[in-house]
C-alpha cells in the first residue's frame, strides 16, 4: 500500500509537468488547431534559460532558496514567451490561410531548429541543475513520506490550471480567444483583433511551457536539448485525451498519463510502461471519442 501511494505520488509529480506543458499546448492547439511540435522545445528552452540565469547571476548562495525558484520561473517564462511570440510571427502567421497541416510541418521544422540551436549553444551534452538548490523536508501523507517538492509541483499545476480556466471561460478576452478558435472571420466581425489574440495565446502558452521547463530542471535535475520532443509529444497526447481545447481536460490528461505510466512502470514493467500508457489512452478514446472531458461539438446537419 505504501508503495502504491509512493508510486501514485511519483506519477502525479511527473504528471504535473505533463499537465503544465499540456496546458500551454492546449491553448495554442485550441485556437489554431496547430500541433505545435515546437512547444516541447520551448519547454526545453525554458529549462535552459532557468539554468543560465541561475548560473550567470550566481543566484545560488546569494539569494534565499525560497525565492530562487520564483525568479527563475518568472524570468524563464518571460523569455520563452518572447520566443513564442516571435515563433508565431515568423513561422506560423504566414501560414494562417493555408491548410492547417502546413503549419504543422513548419512547427516540426521549428522544433528541429530549436533543439539543434540549443545543442550548438549549450553543447549536446546533458546539463544539470545543482543538486542542492532546494532542500525541503518530506511530508507524511497517509503515513507515507511524500517529497514536498512533489506537492509544490502538483499545487503549481492545479493553481495555474484554475487561473487559466477562469481566464478563458469567465473573461471577455477569454471568450474572444474561444471565438477566434472557432471562426476567425466571424471573430473579426465582433471587433476582435484576431492577430492580437493569437499573439496573446502565443505568449501565454509558451510562458507556461517555459515555467514547466524550470520546474523540471529544479526538481528532477537533468536537462538536455532533445528532452522537449518526447515531453511535447506526451503533453500533446494528454491534451487531446483530455478533450481538445478543454483546459481541465488537458490537466486531467497530463496527470492521468503520469499516473498510468507510474503504475505500469511500477507494477508491470519499465520497458513496457510507455506502451501500456499509450494503450490505455487509446482505449479511453475508443470509449470516449472526444476525450475524457469531451470537446464541445455541434455537428448539426
Amino acid at each position: 500500500m505504501d508503495i502504491f501511494i509512493t508510486q501514485l505520488s511519483n506519477g502525479l509529480a511527473i504528471g504535473s509537468i505533463y499537465a503544465l506543458v499540456a496546458l500551454g499546448y492546449t491553448m495554442v492547439y485550441g485556437i489554431l488547431r496547430l500541433i505545435n511540435f515546437a512547444h516541447g522545445d520551448l519547454f526545453t528552452i525554458g529549462a535552459y534559460f532557468g539554468l543560465t540565469i541561475l548560473v550567470s547571476f550566481a543566484l545560488q548562495g546569494n539569494v534565499s532558496p525560497l525565492i530562487i525558484p520564483w525568479i527563475l520561473i518568472i524570468m524563464a517564462a518571460i523569455g520563452v514567451a518572447i520566443i513564442g511570440f516571435l515563433l508565431e510571427r515568423v513561422a506560423y502567421r504566414p501560414l494562417r490561410n493555408a491548410n492547417r497541416l502546413a503549419a504543422v510541418v513548419s512547427a516540426f521544422g521549428a522544433s528541429i531548429f530549436f533543439a539543434n540551436a540549443l545543442k550548438l549553444i549549450y553543447s549536446p551534452n546533458r546539463q544539470s541543475y545543482p543538486a542542492d538548490i532546494i532542500n525541503l523536508p518530506n511530508i507524511p501523507i497517509f503515513g507515507v513520506d511524500i517529497q514536498s517538492k512533489r506537492l509544490i509541483m502538483f499545487g503549481t499545476a492545479v493553481l495555474l490550471m484554475a487561473l487559466l480556466y477562469w481566464y478563458i471561460n469567465h473573461t471577455r478576452t477569454g471568450t474572444a480567444i474561444r471565438a477566434v478558435a472557432i471562426d476567425q472571420g466571424a471573430a473579426k466581425l465582433m471587433g476582435i483583433n484576431v492577430n492580437k489574440i493569437i499573439s496573446l495565446v502565443f505568449i501565454i502558452g509558451p510562458a507556461l511551457g517555459g515555467a514547466a521547463g524550470v520546474l523540471m530542471g529544479l526538481f528532477y535535475g537533468q536537462i538536455h536539448p532533445e528532452m522537449g520532443f518526447s515531453f511535447g509529444l506526451k503533453a500533446f497526447v494528454a491534451a487531446i485525451i483530455g478533450g481538445i481545447g478543454n483546459i481541465p481536460g488537458a490537466m486531467l490528461g497530463g496527470l492521468l498519463l503520469g499516473v498510468v505510466e507510474a503504475i505500469a512502470g511500477g507494477y508491470v514493467s519499465g520497458s513496457w510502461k510507455d506502451a501500456i500508457a499509450f494503450g490505455a489512452l487509446i482505449v479511453i478514446l475508443i470509449f470516449r471519442p472526444t476525450g475524457i472531458l469531451g470537446e464541445r461539438v455541434a455537428d448539426k446537419i
Binding site: I3, T6, Q7, N10, G11, A13, I14, K119, S123, P124, N125, R126, Q127, S128, P130, A131, D132, D145, Q147, M216, Y220, G221, Q222, I223, H224, E226, M227, S230, E261, A262, G265, G266, S269, G270, S271, K273, D274
Partner: protein
C-alpha cells in the same frame, strides 16, 4: 602518396560527446604521426563521416565511406550503430575496427575484416558477476535501459549469475533512457530490497539514478558497467550522491603507466586543455595504433591489413593496454577493472 583512413563517429545525436572526443583524439594522433613523418614517409589523411549516433544515419555514412574506397575505417560507438554499418563495410571489403561497441554478436557473424578494440559484453558480464561476489552482495537487482548495449550486458550478467549461483537476481527490468524522472523504477527497486543494484546503462541515467535514489531514501548501492565511465556523471549526480558509486571499466589512460599513454595524455592536454573524458574515445586511439602498425608492415590494402591484424599483431602497446586480436576479431586479454567514486568526484581505480 597519402594513406587515407576512414573514421565513422557520432558527431551529432545522443552520443555526440563520445563522437566529438573520438574525432579530437584521432585528429591529434594523426597530427603527431604526420609531424613524425607519417607511415613510411606517407602522410595520413582522415575521412570523417557522422553516423548521427543512429543506425539509419550510420548506414548512409558507411556507404559514403565505402564509396571513398578507404582501406580501413575506425568506428563506431554504440553496438546498434556499428551493426548497421557492418554489412556495408563487409560488402565493400573494408576493414572496420569498432571502438565502443561491445555487443557479443558483432564478432559472432563471421565477418573477416571486422575488429574491435572494445572488450565484449560476456567478458564484462563475467567480471561484473565476479566483482559483485567479491564485494559480498547476495542479492542484486539488474536494471538496463533497453538499448542494444545495456540489454546485452544485462542479459550476459544474468546468465553469469545463473551459471555460478553465487549471487541471486531479485529484479530484472528496464528504464526508458532520456527521461528525467526515475523515481518510479527506484520505488519499485526499493520494494525488491536488493543488496545492490547493477545498472548496465549509460552515465546520464546513472547520474540521475544516483541523485534521485538519495531523495527517495533507497540505500542499496548502485554498481555500473563501463558505459558510466564518464566525468559528466559527477556533474549530473552531484558529488554527494555520486560518492561511493562503483563501476567496472577498462582502465583510463590516466591510470596506466606506459610511455605510450603518457606521451598521448601530455599531447592531448597540451592541445585541448583537459584529459579525455571517456574510455571509448580512447579505444579509438587503440584502433588507430593497430591500424598504423598494420599499414606500416603491409601497406594500405584491406586484405593485407586484416590478415596482419588477425595473425601478426601481438601485444602492441596501446592507450588502454596491450592490443592483440583473436580469430574472431575480438581484442584479447582482460581489461576490466573496478572503479569507485571518492568524495571529490574522482574515479579511483580499485586494487585488484
Amino acid at each position: 602518396q597519402d594513406v587515407r583512413i576512414g573514421l565513422m563517429a557520432g558527431l551529432t545525436g545522443p552520443y555526440a560527446s563520445e563522437g566529438q572526443d573520438t574525432k579530437r583524439i584521432i585528429e591529434l594522433m594523426i597530427e603527431d604521426l604526420n609531424a613524425k613523418g607519417g607511415i613510411n614517409g606517407n602522410k595520413v589523411q582522415l575521412v570523417i563521416e557522422d553516423d548521427g549516433s543512429s543506425p539509419g544515419t550510420a548506414a548512409t555514412a558507411a556507404t559514403r565511406l565505402a564509396s571513398t574506397k578507404v582501406p580501413a575505417v575506425i568506428g563506431t560507438y554504440g553496438s546498434a550503430v556499428t551493426e548497421a554499418s557492418q554489412d556495408i563495410f563487409d560488402e565493400a571489403g573494408i576493414v572496420q575496427i569498432g571502438t565502443g561497441s561491445t555487443s557479443i554478436r558483432l564478432t559472432e557473424k563471421g565477418y573477416e575484416r571486422f575488429f574491435r578494440t572494445a572488450p565484449r559484453d560476456d567478458e564484462q558480464g563475467r567480471v561484473a558477476e565476479e566483482s559483485l561476489n567479491k564485494l559480498g552482495f547476495k542479492t542484486v537487482a539488474i536494471l538496463h535501459d533497453s538499448t542494444a548495449y545495456a540489454k546485452g550486458l544485462a542479459d550476459e550478467l544474468k546468465a553469469q549469475i545463473d551459471k555460478n549461483g553465487r549471487v541471486n537476481t531479485v529484479f530484472f527490468d528496464a528504464l526508458v533512457p532520456g527521461e528525467s524522472d526515475y523515481s518510479v523504477v527506484l520505488t519499485k527497486l526499493k520494494s525488491a530490497n536488493p543488496d545492490a543494484i547493477f545498472f548496465t546503462g549509460y552515465y546520464p541515467e546513472v547520474g540521475l539514478l544516483l541523485r534521485q535514489k538519495k531523495e527517495i531514501g533507497l540505500d542499496a548501492p548502485i554498481i555500473g558497467g563501463d558505459a558510466s565511465n564518464h566525468v559528466d556523471l559527477i556533474k549530473i549526480a552531484g558529488k554527494d550522491a555520486a560518492k561511493g558509486y562503483r563501476f567496472i571499466s577498462p582502465p583510463l589512460p590516466t591510470d596506466l603507466d606506459t610511455p605510450v599513454t603518457k606521451e598521448f595524455l601530455a599531447s592531448y592536454k597540451a592541445k585541448y586543455g583537459t584529459y579525455p573524458g571517456s574510455i571509448w574515445s580512447v579505444a579509438s586511439g587503440d584502433a588507430f595504433i593497430a591500424l598504423v602498425e598494420a599499414i606500416k608492415a603491409k601497406g594500405a590494402d584491406s586484405e593485407a591489413i586484416a590478415d596482419y591484424l588477425h595473425n601478426d599483431l601481438k601485444d602492441v602497446q596501446g592507450l588502454s593496454g596491450k592490443i592483440s586480436f583473436n580469430e574472431k576479431g575480438d581484442r584479447v586479454g582482460d581489461l576490466y577493472r573496478l572503479y569507485e567514486v571518492d568524495g571529490d568526484g574522482n574515479f579511483v581505480l580499485q586494487p585488484e
